[in-house]
């Protein structure tokens, strides 16, 4: 996996070949470099010398679960888009087409692992048991971080591209230190009858566009230098708003890892089984202290960048059709049916579950409470801050000085939103 050919000098002319190949690749939809694939678009399960053994561990319930998750998150996506078109959300970031990359990788993580997403990983959120309604708070404009990461080990969305990649490496460096300490105390714990905590790893998501940011480079340098237990999961969905991945890279993104000194592996991002296998391998490896891995999930952003975007302005519908033929759900459905692992009643149940989720999401969105600016005062600092207190006091007086009804509402809203001042207990 990955090019073994290295240019002999910096003036090696193969750069042009790579570019042409990359462009052809985008047009044909077939990667020039080999990528790990187990389930092809027709739903046939193939084999891979390294990763089949992971696939073989998947029992029918798990496989059906993959399908159910992907269907669920797709349905959620459709509903959220509709809500945006109805003015209920300010913006929505759809993940259509990337379900397998997210569900497959997310399901390979373990509860003690910590995940750093970008802002499109609603599928991973689902696998981490984040209440999907909480995701919507950000897009409704009532919060910049709708859930508590400590509950699910799923970090908040980071909107500055790639800024989360060094966070992930730092977190992994923290895990290393914790594990070193735990190892030192391991004998004592075992003798005391305490369960030894399982090792943890970090997984950080970013896209092909973000891969150009300097922070990705710096985090990979750090990760390699310290052999940090972090899996870099790049969803190459081929488009960064309107800029194709061929502008972000001349070579398969997975190949960059070699430059830093750790393995990079490209996987068919629409093949949930392969994604799961590769991710499981990578996370295990990291947990065991063998350092970072870069996974490039080769997939496609079927929808727009966000609901404020219009892909008809920059890409061909023919290309979209090509990728729709490689749909992650379709191929798994074919496989499940062919293997007798799922029938009509299963798929109808899945549909019904999706509708139920959609209704829940719709209702929750409508019921989202409007925040009060007083919480923003309270949350700027952990510890008491004289300027914040002064400005808040001014704001209270100012607000109370209006003669119209709005001031009465604000005053009672203020009462309703008094925030616990003592954060020392946290």
């Amino acid at each position: 996996m990955g090019a073994t050919h290295l240019p002999s000098t910096e003036f090696d002319g193969t750069g042009m070949d790579d570019q042409l190949e990359a462009e052809a690749e985008a047009q044909l939809g077939a990667p020039a470099e080999p990528m790990v694939q187990l389930l092809d678009p027709d739903g046939t399960l193939g084999s891979d010398p390294v990763f089949s053994k992971y696939a073989e561990k998947l029992d029918p319930d798990t496989l059906r679960g993959f399908y159910a998750d992907m269907a669920k998150i797709r349905r959620f996506d459709v509903e959220a888009t509709a809500l945006q078109r109805q003015g209920q959300l300010a913006l929505w970031v759809p993940l259509t087409g990337q379900e397998a990359a997210q569900i497959g990788s997310g399901r390979a993580s373990q509860p003690q692992d910590y995940i750093f997403p970008t802002y499109r990983e609603h599928g991973v959120a689902l696998t981490r048991n984040v209440d999907l309604a909480e995701l919507l708070r950000q897009f409704r404009g009532v919060s910049n971080g709708g859930w508590n990461p400590k509950d699910t080990n799923f970090h908040l969305y980071t909107l500055v591209l790639a800024a989360q990649t060094p966070h992930a490496v730092g977190y992994a460096m923290g895990i290393q230190r914790d594990q070193k300490l735990a190892a030192a105390n391991a004998v004592a714990s075992v003798e005391a009858g305490q369960a030894v905590e399982p090792n943890a790893a970090v997984m950080v998501y970013f896209g092909d566009g973000a891969s150009s940011e300097g922070d990705v480079h710096e985090s990979m340098v750090f990760a390699a230098s310290y052999q940090a237990p972090v899996v870099f999961f790049c969803q190459n969905n081929h488009w960064a708003i309107s800029v194709p991945s061929s502008v972000q890279t001349r070579i398969p993104l997975a190949n960059r890892a070699k430059g830093y000194g750790f393995p990079g592996i490209r996987v068919d991002g629409n093949d949930v089984i392969a994604v799961h296998a590769v991710t499981e391998w990578a996370l295990e490896r990291a947990r065991e202290g063998h350092g970072p891995v870069l996974i490039e999930a080769f997939t496609y952003r079927v929808g727009a960048h966000t609901t404020a975007d219009d892909p008809t302005k920059y890409r061909e519908s023919a290309e979209e059709s090509l990728w729709r033929a490689k749909d992650p759900l379709a191929r798994l459905e074919k496989y499940l049916r062919a293997q007798g692992l799922a029938d009509d009643s299963f798929f109808e149940q899945v549909k019904a579950d999706g509708d139920e989720l959609a209704a829940y999401v719709r209702k929750t969105t409508h019921d989202l409470e409007t925040p009060d600016i007083r919480t923003a005062f309270a949350n700027t600092y952990v510890e008491a801050h004289p300027l914040v207190a002064e400005e808040l006091a001014w704001f209270e007086e100012y607000s109370a000085g209006f003669a119209d009804e709005a001031s009465a509402d604000e005053a009672s809203a203020g009462e309703a939103h008094r925030v616990q001042t003592d954060r020392a207990a946290r």
């Binding site: 910590y114 060094p166 966070h167 490496v169 070193k180 922070d215 923003a376 700027t380 952990v382």
Partner: protein, 326 residues
């Protein structure tokens, strides 16, 4: 009480930090084997090991970013940015991530990262080694910024910064690293609160507010002014965000005149914030406009003309003269 230079005081403060906080660690370029380009971290790697005194790759954004990650995992990282002029690759992580993470998470996450930055000029150095960028960070809510002017404060403030649950930037006046002073390593005494300003010298005719490297200069100016019969009060601001406006206001109510001096350029500098706020709070006490002393609106000049650029005793006295003439 021990006599120490500021550099040594910070070194001792870091040592105390590493001893008292098992989850604290230092990270930066050249801080390990070399002990830091100013030897501020000298000897610490030998004492605490490479896991706690980490020589990082040359990547400021990476340093700050990984520190954020470590703090999310429950650690207390103390980053060093080697020189003020090189903090800018890390500006994104500091302003979009470090400052906002607590607020973004609705209070669920804390990122108690400390960033130490040697700052200021007067050392005859090359480009980017003499900057004073504190105003750029003060304008970002979510950060706290402190700056010690003497060894006792240097010893205690670094420890208090680590104990603080908010992200703290500690600006260390590099030209004063070799300034000696008495340090009480048992109790902080008057330096118990890093966010309070200190009245270093009492006076009645005018107040001079300074911080960091200009503190000794202001004291010298006050001494010179006394010879001319003017009683000048000198305040060491110590904390740039938050600013202790109460102490400054009380002083101006007493003296009626205020001069603010900093190495950073006057335009857009901290002096402007102080001038505006004091004029609101103590308008009727003002006998003169607030006069600011600072660098000129130009990139920090070459070493050979640095003297003409930096506020010195004469520049502060000129400002006092103007204020007193009203």
């Amino acid at each position: 009480m021990t006599t120490m230079t500021i550099a040594k005081a910070i070194n001792e403060g870091l040592r105390a930090t590493l001893n008292n906080n098992p989850r604290s660690l230092l990270m930066g370029e050249d801080i390990g084997a070399l002990g830091g380009v100013y030897r501020v971290t000298d000897g610490l790697i030998a004492e605490f090991g490479a896991d706690r005194v980490v020589d990082t790759p040359l990547a400021e954004s990476g340093i700050i970013g990984t520190a954020i990650g470590l703090s999310l995992r429950g650690y207390q990282p103390v980053c060093e940015i080697q020189f003020d002029g090189f903090v800018f690759p890390g500006f994104n992580q500091i302003t979009t991530q470090l400052a906002k993470m607590h607020s973004r998470s609705n209070g669920n996450l804390t990122v108690p990262v400390v960033i130490r930055i040697p700052y200021g000029g007067g050392i005859g150095s090359i480009e980017h080694h003499s900057e004073s960028p504190e105003a750029l960070f003060a304008h970002t809510a979510g950060l706290r910024i402190i700056t010690p002017s003497n060894p006792h404060d240097a010893y205690w403030m670094i420890q208090q910064a680590v104990d603080c649950q908010d992200p703290v930037i500690v600006f260390e006046p590099k030209r004063r690293y070799w300034l000696k002073g008495e340090v009480d390593t048992e109790t902080p005494g008057a330096s118990a609160d890093p966010f309070k300003a200190h009245v270093l010298r009492e006076g009645t005719d005018a107040t001079v507010v300074v911080y960091g490297p200009l503190v000794p200069v202001a004291l010298a100016a006050a001494e010179a002014a006394a010879e001319d019969g003017h009683s000048v009060e000198v305040i060491d601001l110590r904390s740039i965000s938050p600013i202790d406006f109460d102490t400054v206001t009380a002083s101006v109510r007493k003296t009626g005149r205020l001069v603010v001096a900093h190495e950073a350029p006057t335009f857009g500098g901290i002096g402007g914030e102080i001038a505006a706020r004091i004029s609101e709070r103590a308008f009727h006490s003002l006998e003169a406009p607030v006069i600011r002393v600072g660098g000129f609106h130009m990139p920090y000049p070459v070493a050979k003309v640095e003297e003409d650029y930096l506020p010195d005793i004469d520049r502060i006295l000129e400002a006092l003269d103007r204020a007193l003439a009203y």
